[in-house]
Symmetry: C2
Subunit: 436 residues, 2 copies
């Protein structure tokens, strides 16, 4: 069954998508979509060009749209009353129920990936809440953390939901965000994406794009429980004559661990689970993506990695041999599913193993200093963050959700010196290791 024939038998997107919709009192975020870039003034355009469209995908996944309608947590309904604002989630007007309910190779990848990340978001959010509620806190006054679920709609096309947990028993701050957005990408945007995506063939006119992704950052309270980050995304450029026909597409993603204290067996475990997920699909994936991760999450001005790594990849498509493979789209999607599914098995055992460890004030201070470095990486280097902030009217709360609740900077700090527990971590951050 082709996309076109599917489209014929469909019903309106909204009534069928499992979108978390809002009933009343929608909040509005003034914002500009990427399709508005060509209409912005010269200074905005320059800012964007300076930031580089390299971070474009990151930014659109951070809810970049002219207007957002976002619900507060208690208004979210899985099956609500008729919506106040119509939105076109997938950029294809009529989608059959099947395309959303089952993952089938005949269905458009944009829908399959969006559904995948939404389901994974649900699963991860529930798992983290279970960890919260099952944790026996030494301070019984602290209620188990619950995610604040903040759904938003983008009237020009797209939706998303930001799930954020703050000040729980185990997690100080955890964000699990999904975005599904589409619009028109102007020629400048296409050109600027080229260096990172050689498969893209820029046109001298605007082309339809679609992007969906899941991004996660978790900062635990206990300095012995590492911070973790995940991002998986799918991007598509389609034929302006037929928006259902992708002319260029790729997957990107990865996850990485940022401990304050080095527990070698935990590092090995994290890498091993990711390696197993990669190896299942291609023997060359892990080595390449582990290295890419070490290179990307590097705080250049400090001469150290942000954490102990994981995997990172971008521009994964079937037309390029760059990745040392020639897998088809279905095989690549399978890989993305395996890699993103590996997140919980890679991370949760480390949380459970360390969450009850006692810590000292000094260890907390060290954690705060490390969080300062995390802030430095995200504000100075992270492409998605930089591009997002340079985009007029982007939703800053979502972009900066990745920052820790608290951070610290000391001038010429005495912590992290050779021979100390803190120094052991520094050694690994300065010289990334092959963990498995």
């Amino acid at each position: 069954m082709s996309i076109r024939s599917l489209a014929k038998c469909g019903r309106p997107t909204l009534s069928m998508s499992r979108s978390i919709v809002t009933r009343t009192a929608v909040k509005r975020y003034t914002s500009s979509s990427s399709t508005q870039i060509s209409r912005e003034g010269k200074s905005h355009r320059n800012t964007l060009l300076k930031a580089g469209f390299a971070g474009f995908l990151g930014a659109v996944l951070y809810n970049v749209g002219r207007d957002y309608y976002s619900s507060s947590a208690d208004e979210i309904k899985l099956d609500g009353n008729p919506m106040k604002y119509m939105t076109d989630t997938y950029g294809v007007f009529w989608i059959p129920m099947r395309a959303i309910e089952e993952d089938h190779p005949e269905n458009p990848m944009r829908i399959r990936m969006a559904v995948w990340v939404k389901n994974l978001q649900d699963h991860i959010v529930k798992t983290l809440e279970t960890i919260e509620s099952s944790h026996i806190s030494s301070n019984s006054n602290i209620p188990p953390g619950k995610f604040l679920r903040d759904a938003w709609l983008r009237p020009e096309g797209g939706e998303g939901s930001s799930c954020v947990l703050s000040n729980g028993r185990v997690f100080e701050k955890a964000g699990v965000n999904v975005s599904v957005v589409h619009g028109m990408l102007p020629p400048t945007g296409q050109k600027s994406m080229l260096p990172d995506h050689p498969s893209l063939k820029p046109k001298d006119y605007s082309v339809p794009f679609f992007a969906t992704g899941l991004s996660i950052v978790i900062h635990p309270i206990n300095p012995h429980v590492p911070t973790v980050h995940l991002n998986y995304r799918y991007f598509e450029i389609s034929d302006p004559e037929n928006p259902s026909k992708p002319v260029s597409w790729w997957f990107g993603g990865g996850s990485d661990l940022t401990p304050c204290y080095l527990v070698e067996e935990d590092c090995k475990h994290f890498h091993q689970v990711l390696k197993d997920a990669c190896d299942e699909h291609h023997k060359g994936f892990w080595k390449k993506y582990k290295k890419w991760c070490d290179e990307y999450f590097y705080v250049k001005h400090r001469g150290e990695s942000r954490g102990i790594g994981g995997i990172f990849f971008d521009d994964l498509t079937d037309v390029s041999e760059e990745h040392g493979q020639s897998k088809n789209k279905e095989e690549l999607f399978d890989f993305v599913k395996s890699a993103s599914s590996a997140f919980l098995p890679a991370y949760v055992p480390i949380v459970l193993k360390n969450k009850d460890r006692k810590w000292t004030e000094e260890e907390k201070r060290w954690q705060q200093l490390r969080r300062g470095r995390y802030v430095e990486f995200n504000l100075v280097y992270d492409r998605g963050t930089k591009f997002g902030l340079a985009t007029p009217g982007a939703r800053v709360e979502s972009i900066l959700m990745s920052l820790p609740e608290t951070a610290r900077w000391e001038y010429m700090s005495d912590m992290g010196k050779e021979g100390t527990e803190e120094g052991k971590l520094m050694e690994v951050l300065r010289h990334p290791r092959e963990w498995v």
Copy 2:
């Protein structure tokens, strides 16, 4: 007496400068000077060009040099033993004692300004230490804060000293830094500085530059005492045939206040003192520089100013009419002296008036959130910081000295809403006021 004749009767720079010199155990910072830019690989060059040489001056004032020899605090001697490493502080080999001991119009401006900022640094450091020691702390266990004085030398030419106070009774973190650096500025560097400095005439060969400045950031403990920032600098390009002859030069600087809670009379006081210092020299200065400050210290992605402003100016020279004046160098230096001298009278009364006010946990939390915004401005927008971090091997401890000791980020924070004390500040940050 010309510079040349002065040079004849001089003695070696080092024995005469009031440099804080080191006796033993000098620390070495591996770093690259701006004169090395042309020798760096393509990727470094690109990074630098992207950051823009607009921030060049900021960066050289942040101790950018290939090798620094820095003393630890207890080794600093005002009059030490013979130095281990020779350095040429002013880029002019023989300087008479007079040029350092007295401020005389016949002396080279590079020396006069360097001496001015060093003396001002001393004065400010001592004043802040006096505030610390005279403050009766409710917690008598906390000793009064003392500055850690960290002197450094740049063997290719230059010196400086970083004075940092941490965890005092009144101030959580205060940095008062002086730099005096010189070297060669390659053609790319000259070209990139042009937009901000139209008086510069770029050459297709490297030209000698000299830069000196004072920069201060003070973050107090009490949320009712505002954060303050100051920066005054002098930049000179000279004739390669005769390094003593400036062919292009300018002053830049300013200071601004960042309160967490709005005390209108304090804002008025701060602006009034700066306005008086400006008005003494030119009726048009204050209005222009107040506006420039509001524009520069703007956190674009948040749609708010960093603080309640002050003054900011750059490229202040005699050949340009851009500043609505045509003052000579002597008159401009007089203005810089007045404006920088106004710092203590503008800020200290606000500290003394508010330092004993009680505060709540909520007020502290708000301060931490505001500090988060301060970090965002400095890491995302501040030209000196951005350029400094993009410069291979810059001394990161000095560049990031401006960051607060602690900061906080909350997702969709409930603080700062209309009708609250926090909301009052937000209103002013969103709509800068004319305070005087």
